[in-house]
Symmetry: C2
Subunit: 452 residues, 2 copies
């Protein structure tokens, strides 16, 4: 029996993309969004928030023919540029020649996905509809209109919760179910965005085709390019504790002193940082884990199921991959949704967990290690080996960013690779001199044979 | 400025005891309970659920003069009696001579605490009041009367959430606060209660002054005495997976076969187990962790803050200890509640975590090890040493059950003790023969000196 109508709660990135998938499979889709239409918002959509789109995301977009449309607003970033305290810049390519991750504006992508969904003909997006509950068994969802206060209910064969980290569907209709595991865990760091404007002539103040990082041990600043010549920068730092924490940056003077001292090259580019400090709020960062992701006719997707901290740039990409895999399963199981939900959550839960573990891991790497000589040596050994034996060794970052290997497998392989190089660095005397020797290569090959 | 009125949400064990503490300190207290008055319930209060009260609980009761009242309904259990498959019984004392834990009925204790609270003169308990939200900053709580459907609000200087593992205060008023960490984690086992009635003449079918355990590896049955000659027994077992799981016990026949085979001596005492199987529901078990426990004028206590699985018998005891320590702080900080809340959660959070870690640890011990010869040898070595050097070594179980050492410290010391004996068992050849030798004793003394 085919089920042909669906409710999607949340018209964000994942909800809008999933609406396209469902429409292409012949479903009548009602999407409910708590906020207004992002395309009509006063503030230029997504000017201040950008995300890194990579291969998994592109593939999911490609599968429903929307890839080219998004390419138009995507800026390739071919590597990281590290900004040392003394102003020295170091470039680390993300992958091989031709590989890049892409800076896109959240609002820009969202708007294009909504347009594509609406043009599919069977998708209707309802704005200002706040989900206030659902009956997952009956496929009923209740909403309150945030402008009129009116309550209403909708019924469909399927309900998809794509309403983000603080999903109403999850909170109202799933959290209280017996044996529903749930965790919201905040990290001790917060973030604040800073818009570094374009030069007067519209040109970029920093190299456009890179992600910029100012790693400073326990905290860091990053910058991603926007289409208009500006960069959206984000400072990640502990909320409290120690001199380098947000609680120590309360006045314009404190902000100025802090930036002059810790990000001098950035301060030169943006000497009015002290005045602009309050333009964006101080925000928190959390990981959300839960299971099961489905109940009755309802399924959680994207952040609603597995929100992560942003340090691997895989939040959107993993949500888009959810859509691609769910789309594949829709065909594979011929729309037997009980089977699809079961198979989907069994396959994707370990990958949601892995994205979170990877994100936390990369946070420590970006923060603590990217400026550490031992770490850089480890990366050099790995890069050399991987270049010579590309079939035997794909670096973890490439597995995650430029492949479609499952996140869980990537994490496992990556941890093993890390172990191997660390062992080699311990076992080889004078590794600093001999890191590119045949001996090192042979040792890695031996270790790969034994244990992988 | 003294604050003199309080709302308590939940009239369970911790809420009722805390009401007594507040009343004695001069507060006007309104307690709101979702259910009806347990003292007027149709089913004899607490006949089917009993708990193990131990020293921490007694001390908290003693501090407000209710200890003697509860002693009247408490049955001492001086140790565990293990029931082997072949019917062999083994007795393991819980502590030293004179030490015991006490089987009490949940309903019986709850009723007496409510009576004591009401007799204090300034406590009013409102039944059928379901909490539907709260403003923790303003000290306002909203309720719906479950009989009339009427909504109402109450305001007080303080709000205490003692409404258990699935606390409405926590869910409605705290979970969505920024940087509120929360986790509900179900274990893969469920439980079902079984009432083993008294003999026709009212006498006990098993030794009354012990906690009975039938350890069977991946699952176990336990029994605690009730005042009327019956025992409340609980089967803990995985919900699904394998032949010994609840999903395999669906028919009377399956239940009979299972009990005959795995608990033959119990089956003899209760040959109608198959008919009685459905008398109590199959229930799940979860650990709840959250932080912070306070916001504005509201504080979570007991299960609402740190619900645990029941395997150390410390759920009620740790909740009662919350009351005692909060009572002490109320004096120490002279009712400066902002300071009290801060100090309380900082001190008690690591202990709430430790109770949960201890409970899970003891679950594995009860389930997997109590019948293991290596484990029993370890316990023998430990008991001998502890008897000879009581000032140097208090067994973990005694620290938790018969002392007032913080749970977190007990856990730390206990883990170190476990390590020491395991090291000794590895290092001493023929430990089975020489477990009570001077050599072993000297080795333990040496290890204690070095690392503790």
């Amino acid at each position: 029996m085919k089920k042909k109508s669906a409710i999607i709660v949340g018209a964000g990135l994942v909800g809008s993309l999933w609406a396209i998938y469902l429409a292409k499979a012949g479903y009548k889709v009602d999407v409910f969004e708590m906020r207004g239409d992002i395309r009509k918002a006063d503030i230029a959509a997504g000017k201040s928030i950008n995300l890194a789109l990579s291969d998994r995301g592109w593939r999911a977009l490609g599968q429903v023919g929307i890839e080219e449309e998004i390419r138009k607003i995507a800026i390739p970033m071919r590597g990281r540029i590290m900004h040392a305290l003394d102003g020295t810049l170091t470039f680390q390519p993300y992958g091989k020649k031709g590989q890049a991750i892409y800076s896109v504006s959240r609002g820009g992508v969202n708007a294009r996905l909504m347009e594509a969904a609406e043009s599919a003909g069977t998708v209707e997006i309802h704005y200002h509809h706040k989900c206030i509950g659902a009956d997952t068994q009956e496929g009923i969802a209740w909403f309150e209109h945030t402008k009129t206060g009116a309550s209403m209910s909708f019924q469909a064969d399927l309900i998809f919760g794509t309403d983000g980290a603080f999903s109403a569907i999850r909170y109202k209709a799933m959290q209280k179910l017996d044996r529903f595991n749930y965790e919201q865990r905040y990290i001790s760091d917060g973030y604040r965005e800073i818009l570094l404007p374009a030069d007067a002539d519209g040109s970029y103040k920093l190299d456009k085709n890179a992600l910029h990082i100012w790693p400073r041990g326990r905290f860091m600043l990053i910058a991603l390019p926007n289409e208009d010549g500006s960069f959206t920068c984000t400072l990640f730092m502990p909320f409290e504790g120690g001199e380098n924490s947000f609680e120590q940056l309360r006045t314009k003077e404190q902000v100025d002193v802090f930036f002059k001292k810790t990000f001098p090259d950035f301060f030169e580019l943006m000497p009015d940082i002290g005045e602009k400090w309050g333009a964006h709020p101080l925000s928190s960062l959390a990981i959300i884990r839960c299971y099961p992701w489905s109940n009755g006719r309802a399924l959680l997707l994207g952040d609603a199921a597995h929100a992560t901290v942003p340090f691997y740039g895989q939040g959107m990409n993993s949500g888009f991959e959810d859509c691609r895999i769910l789309g594949d399963m829709m065909e594979e199981y011929q729309e037997n949704w009980a089977q699809i939900f079961k198979a989907f959550q069994q396959e994707r839960k370990p990958n949601g967990d892995a994205v979170q573990d990877l994100s936390l891991h990369n946070y420590y790497v970006m923060r603590d290690y990217v400026a550490d000589p031992r770490f850089l040596l480890q990366k050099k050994i790995e890069a050399r080996f991987s270049e010579r034996y590309p079939d035997k060794w794909m670096p973890l970052y490439s597995q995650v960013t430029f492949s479609h290997i499952s996140y869980a497998d990537a994490l496992k392989v990556g941890m093993r690779q890390d172990e191997i190089i660390k062992e080699v660095m311990k076992e080889v005397v004078d590794i600093e001199q001999r890191w590119d020797s045949d001996e090192v290569e042979a040792l890695i090959l031996k270790k790969l044979k034994i244990k992988v």
